[in-house]
Amino acid sequence: MEQPTTSNDRAYQSEKQTINNCEVEIVSYQINGTYYCHVNNIDPGATIARGKGADRATAVSIALEKVHRRV
């Protein structure tokens, strides 16, 4: 199997957290200078909230703020 590219400028990152008793996956990556974050429920994996920003932290915080309101 091919190994994923890990270029720092737009590395795809994923981590799991539990928010308000809901298990979620926080995915973030960069495309053309903009960082995107999707927060998905673990199963089935549908996007609950999304955010974007000039850096990863901004994109993630915007998405997480929405998640706290929605789950």
Partner: protein
Amino acid sequence: MSNYAHPETLVSTDWVVENLENDNVVVVEVDVDTAAYEEGHVPGSIGWNWHTQLSDNVRRDIIGKDDFEKLMGASGIGNDTTVVLYGDNNNWFAAWAFWQLKMYGHKDVRLMNGGRKKWLLEGKALETDAAAPAVVSYSAGEVDKSLRAFQMDVFQSLGKDGVSLVDVRSPKEFSGEILAPAGLPETCQRGGHIPGAQNIGWGTAANEDGTFKTVEELKAIYEDKGVTSDKNVITYCRIGERSSLSWYVLKYLMGYENVINYDGSWTEWGNLVGAPIEK
């Protein structure tokens, strides 16, 4: 690709890269998250919105033949075009589109193994401009209903030997603990599952990078639950899209002959008056 029953229906991300300039190949992204395409997509790919372009939201149905022909033609897809579908979430809705294309008789339709996740993981090229293909003529066949289960098919299968119902939802949906996963709108009146169904989560078919597991791994998962190739298999989930991925896995990767997708799924069965359920 492994020893899948129908390897011609699956392509790698590298194959897609090699065929980006191939005039007979049209790549289409179909996502759960309908805004993902706009972030960036495979160069030249078309974006389809499953909710507005692949659903008849008045009838609660797949799109009609006329609309399907218009969608295909407007996407630059002719009857002999190779269509490569990919999307987020392990090709969840890409498989749903695959199911519809097969119902309308499109000959050459394939999934990109690993979908959008693998493309991003590999750092492959993306573009943000929406593709503007030249419109072509497309003629669809009559719907192949043998690929689709309706509620009467499910009723008639209850308690019958030789039929396997596969509920691909999460364990908490299967047990009735929850009516729908967090953050998703479609729900129902009752929780639980169709009597006799086996719970085999749709996501069990995929590796961490979104690619499909090997045939041997898939067989171990399904056969352990008694879902064997000699059975008539009906897959279902909540609205029929997760189960279309399991339908694809069973039919095209594992080679099961008789597999149909019940797209009414739990949002239909869980609301039906008098329909038996188990918890």
